[in-house]
Assembly symmetry: C2
Homo-oligomer: 577 residues x 2
Amino acid sequence: MIYSAPEKDAEFLLFDVFDVEQIWSKIADFRDIDRSTIEAIIAEGSRLSAQTLFESFQESKHSGCDWNGGQVLAPKEFKNAFKELTSGGWLGLSGNPRFGGQGMPKMLGCLIEEMFWASNASLYLYGTLTVGASLCIDSHGSEDQKKAYLEKLYSGQWTGAMALTESHAGTDLGIIKTKAEPDADGSYTLTGTKIFITSGEHDMAENIIHLVLAKLPDAPPGTKGISLFIVPKFLMDSNGDLSERNSWSSGSLEHKMGITGSATSVINYDNARGFLLGEENQGLNAMFTMMNYERLSVGLQGLGSGDLAYQQAAQYAKDRVQGRSPRGPQNENGVADSLLVHPDVRRMLFTQRAYNEAGRAFGLFVGMQLDLANHADDPVAKQLVDLLTPVAKAFLSDKGFEGAVLAQQVFGGHGYIKEWGVEQIVRDARIAQIYEGTNGVQALDLVARKVIKDGGRAVQSFLEYVRNTRVDPGFEEVLEENLNRLDSVTQGIVRRSQTDVDLPGAVSADYLELFGLVCYAWLWAKMVHHAPNDEYGSAKKETARFFFHRLLPRTVFLEQSIASNSDVVMTLSDDAF
Amino acid sequence: MIYSAPEKDAEFLLFDVFDVEQIWSKIADFRDIDRSTIEAIIAEGSRLSAQTLFESFQESKHSGCDWNGGQVLAPKEFKNAFKELTSGGWLGLSGNPRFGGQGMPKMLGCLIEEMFWASNASLYLYGTLTVGASLCIDSHGSEDQKKAYLEKLYSGQWTGAMALTESHAGTDLGIIKTKAEPDADGSYTLTGTKIFITSGEHDMAENIIHLVLAKLPDAPPGTKGISLFIVPKFLMDSNGDLSERNSWSSGSLEHKMGITGSATSVINYDNARGFLLGEENQGLNAMFTMMNYERLSVGLQGLGSGDLAYQQAAQYAKDRVQGRSPRGPQNENGVADSLLVHPDVRRMLFTQRAYNEAGRAFGLFVGMQLDLANHADDPVAKQLVDLLTPVAKAFLSDKGFEGAVLAQQVFGGHGYIKEWGVEQIVRDARIAQIYEGTNGVQALDLVARKVIKDGGRAVQSFLEYVRNTRVDPGFEEVLEENLNRLDSVTQGIVRRSQTDVDLPGAVSADYLELFGLVCYAWLWAKMVHHAPNDEYGSAKKETARFFFHRLLPRTVFLEQSIASNSDVVMTLSDDAF
């Protein structure tokens, strides 16, 4: 198998399409970053992922995690690679410089994260939860908490985990049962069982910092009565050194369809000691800092899987000879032509490219809005981050899975055989549509909270933003048609949902897909505008053309599907299902 | 896990929608079949699948096949279930009565096959290849060959396998290397290696009959130089008793993404003795008898997976409580409402139902045309079988996989965990899109061989046939609109492909999907026309409404996508991929 990180795309997007030098020059925190530093970081991230991480991915192909009386062992092939990842400071790339982070823009982080996800998704799960936990502590923790945890998390000496789900409570966190009783010293005692805890227990770090949702004894019911706690594996003594083992443990490992190198535990909190993070009963809000980070990251995971799968399929299509071109033999001395002579194989590869390359631009655009929101206090950027995060999580992961399945199809029968590796990418990619809030939850978040709640104003901001950018004139008209479509569909949903309470959920999935497609149309038109006059630029133009002709027309279908009211799904009696 | 065979649907489709009593009364071979016999066979097939086969599926969940020095062991949990399947005569259900078959219509076979696929796909693979091999021998074998093999195959005492693929030759059979040298006694000596041989070697039958594609020494190049051979595991002596072991063996088992209970071997033919089946160099034509049977069967496999997955998801959605209805609490005494209050969950379940129930009708319709072609020599039926077989294989398996993925999504995180079982259905369903000719090959077969080659006449026959049937008036207009769409798209492709040789492959996948959707629209309109005025009928009407509002509009998108020419996929240079 092969993996080559998209360095060229990264630089094209950063410097040409989004012109970050101009943007960063206006942000105090980023003013001093120069292009050569960015290029060096991308080159090193590329090397690390294509070599170290990808090699450990391939070596660990037949390994999983082991559970031994509460001890959890990550794949042994991960150990050195994880050390190289953490010792390079990569988990602190966008971290707070006051506590040892490198303070780099999120845009850069998005590009690097995609490479890590693509090259070894199971391994990077130990990293991304660490980054998310540190972000949450940085946003909601006390100065003492930041001092105690951030540097160790940025360095990967300690890792993070988030503990939300219980067996009866997944999407519906309002009904969790884990309890936190206040103690005299200001700490809390936690009791309960959490499931699906990614990196909850493993042997690759000295300490593991859980961020746990639990309820105080007198908490109001539902989501307004949830608090967030820091619950480390090892407690610290008064010198800040690790001392006693906290009383929680891994009850078992989950047996999963994919990402088998990622240790997913059931965690039992048995009078475990925890420390309040943020305010009492404000835990879900605080956790959302982490979840929003992880949601964009999981979108990038989908993208990474999609790109990894594409690279395998493209290489296979070049190498494999089978059948003849409809134009007659192209490889006259061989027994057959390469798969690339077959238009349908090209259609599959183009579909993957069109989604991957626009997805990369989209992730980067959301990262840019995060930078503007967090470092330049830009109000429109804040609005766009809220609006686009669910789209990034769901649309990138949906298209990543779709792309992996197409790549598997290019391999024919070999795609179904473990030795060839592509079926593993399909299994690994599938999780990104499910965890961190299923893609159905993302779609409902988009429609209900981000669109209807503010009467569609955020969408108006987005449309205005898009219309103020320069795009290739050849795609302007069809782009405008699709912006108008998104506009009218949005207004229709806002209006119709006033009298049809089930409408948002009935159309949410189609609306999110429509939204994603229109974003990608804009980004393709924008990329073509900036594409150079060389082979790289010409491939961009051809892929854009494919997207506009073969994929974008889906918006016409989605608009029609969204036009029907919720009675189409709601009338059938429960018993009839 | 649960599985309940669709008995009610089977009878509704047979007796109400397709009125088989009237059809069969005009066919000599079927004139004497009475309704109660059919109902009894359906009831017994339902019991066998829901109990015996499904239990063995669940018991074998963690088993695979074992390879031991060339010996292959099927999962031990399969043994008794396979015995019950074969001793019940099910593999000879549509077999030739002159040699012990039961001579039942293919329509009935389609319904029974779906049940077998759904309840234990890995196990039924040992069966379906036996049925296919017997059909091929019955169609192309000598009287002696029929006498020697058919009864043993119908009874499952012996099983069948088809050996086509070689590591360098999958879709492209013209380049196979396996050789057959004629011997003095009229038999042949075969040498070569085949891969992906389903049921090629196992321990559930006394003898295994391979149908092997190979080339004679003086064979013309390409597909015109392929002959077909019967190559049994054990040869027979002059009394017809099993004697010496033939010289082929399983070199290894493939490690697959799913259907792990099905033994898939690499088979080495090392001077193996074979017997010509049909004429020299006419092997591919003969093999197509088996392949066409298997293609419809594999479509039914996709349908079976889709229905099995749907049943799990519907039950889970009823049982699982999570969140509250947009209308306010519906289950006031519980901590949350059932998943069925969520419109997006209903959308996912409806999508599965809409594809499954129309898919069942479609498979049955193709089965009906097979019956009319083979037992009433009906020329239109022959045309329709040729036209619709690739659609049945690809569209049913695509929608089966799509449905399984949706079912997994309904399960949220539990859908990714092996213990819950639904992820296995996803992995199992995936193969149906790949084997028996990838779905890309089906789409090209449809466009190039079945549509363009006869100038679209078969499609005209189909449209005429459809327009002569009675459908629900409420759906007549939108159905007619879609029939016209299929008509004009077809004519456009026929015309445009005269000057654009790459067009058929460029649009084939979209065209097949368009074709499938229009077929389903017709069948939904037809089913509603026949739906009774009760709860069952009302569920049919609601599902039809969902299909027409939420799924059928895809045809508008597909029409637009097909409108672009092949340069959209062909221009990009090979190197740029």
